[in-house]
């Protein structure tokens, strides 16, 4: 059961096609698990369709249809769409994983991360794997960080997040994710700025955060 969804603003920007690529990838990953948001998107797209009908028509070059038909006949712009694999992971994620060799980097004893190539520069897109029972170092967010749980679950002081859950952290949200004890947790992460680990140093700067020993 999914309990954490993107808000209507993010869904609207996705439906209208103005959301940045990386964040849209996170939304698509969530939609793989979430019928409720998928339904909302369809309603939002209906609004787009209805608005399209209300625009004032702009005349098109008279030969446009004929040149279109000749392009179609010549088979130009024929695009082969790759068949989708039905699987546990969202298509968008497995496609990125299939097209590159993942380089897992160890952050600490329980957290590994691998960058994903998402074709944009605004965000860092990565996979994060937390070992069963593992604890991620407490960290702050300099930018917006979206996490979509792909497998397993994790929790922090605000709640438990399971497969499909969409978690958005704003700058200044400090949290310390903790994986469920019985299975590894795999997440998709989209961050607008590198996550700053709040370790020993920042404890001094930020006396309100209690540092727990992992």
């Amino acid at each position: 059961m999914i309990h954490h969804h993107p808000d209507d603003n993010l869904l609207t920007e996705y439906a209208a096609g103005t959301l940045d690529t990386a964040q849209a990838i996170a939304i698509t990953a969530h939609l793989h698990f979430c019928t409720q948001c998928k339904h909302k998107i369809m309603l939002m797209e209906q609004t787009g369709g209805a608005m399209l009908e209300t625009l004032s028509p702009e005349p098109i070059a008279p030969d446009s249809f004929d040149s279109l038909m000749s392009m179609i006949e010549k088979g130009e712009n024929n695009r082969r769409s790759t068949p989708r694999k039905a699987g546990d992971l969202p298509n968008v994620v497995s496609k990125m994983m299939d097209h590159q060799s993942l380089k897992w980097r160890k952050v600490n004893s329980s957290l590994k991360t691998a960058n994903l190539v998402a074709g944009q520069k605004q965000h860092a897109v990565s996979l994060q794997k937390i070992n069963a029972g593992g604890v991620v170092p407490e960290h702050d967010h300099r930018g917006v960080e979206i996490t979509v749980v792909l497998k397993g679950s994790f929790s922090d002081k605000n709640g438990i997040y399971q497969a499909g859950d969409f978690v958005l952290k704003e700058p200044g949200d400090v949290h310390q994710p903790l994986s469920a004890s019985n299975e590894d947790c795999l997440c998709l992460s989209v961050e607008s700025a590198p996550v700053k680990l709040t370790g020993l140093f920042s404890r001094l700067l930020n006396p309100f955060i209690k540092l727990r020993v992992a």
């Binding site: 797209e45 028509p57 098109i60």
Partner: protein, 194 residues
């Protein structure tokens, strides 16, 4: 030009044309779709890219959408989405495609726009789709929105502006734009669901 679709009958015409293109590559039906939607699509592209691009390029974007209509019509399922809704998603994706083509980073990715913004109507949630209302009903609902909300929602959908771009243009705090969008969406959705 055609008059605005105002009856279910009229909307069914576009759905049927799409079905015929999908089933039998019906050129007459395709031409009718082109003549109706082409000028609307051009208007859509022009509102996003006013004056920066040549008129010819706008016509090419329209052609690009219509090629997708031709190629993908067999995947169109009228029980899941109205013709105008599906064509809107194709236009949206064509615009995103164009922007991605201009970005040097997009080429490093194995992802196509359709991997990120689904344009198929096939795998929509079945059980939830009694809500496939006709667009005239949504148009009526749109007219009932307060002016400040409909202005924002129009800029978001038809001018393809992000919330922050809308905030900047209208000289409003981002939070105000966000709440107007949310209010408009919840109003529209409650009207649609009724």
């Amino acid at each position: 030009m055609d008059t605005l679709p105002s009856t279910k009958q009229h909307l069914k015409v576009w759905n049927d044309h799409l079905m015929n293109v999908g089933r039998s590559q019906d050129r007459q039906a395709f031409k009718a779709l082109f003549e109706h939607f082409g000028p609307l699509l051009k208007s859509y592209f022009m509102s996003k890219f006013p004056s920066q691009h040549s008129v010819q390029m706008m016509d090419e974007l329209v052609q690009e959408v219509m090629i997708k209509v031709w190629q993908k019509a067999m995947t169109f399922d009228p029980s899941k989405a109205a013709a105008s809704t599906w064509i809107f998603t194709l236009a949206r994706n064509t615009r995103i495609d164009m922007l991605r083509r201009q970005s040097k980073y997009a080429t490093t990715s194995s992802l196509e726009t359709e991997d990120i913004w689904d344009d198929t109507t096939e795998d929509g949630p079945y059980q939830l789709l009694q809500h496939n209302r006709d667009s005239s009903q949504i148009q009526t609902s749109l007219k009932q929105l307060p002016e400040e909300q409909s202005l924002v929602i129009r800029k978001v959908y038809m001018e393809s502006k992000s919330h922050s771009e809308v905030a900047e243009e209208l000289n409003l705090p981002l939070g105000t734009v966000k709440s107007r969008v949310r209010l408009a969406q919840s109003k529209l959705q409650s009207l649609i669901k009724r």
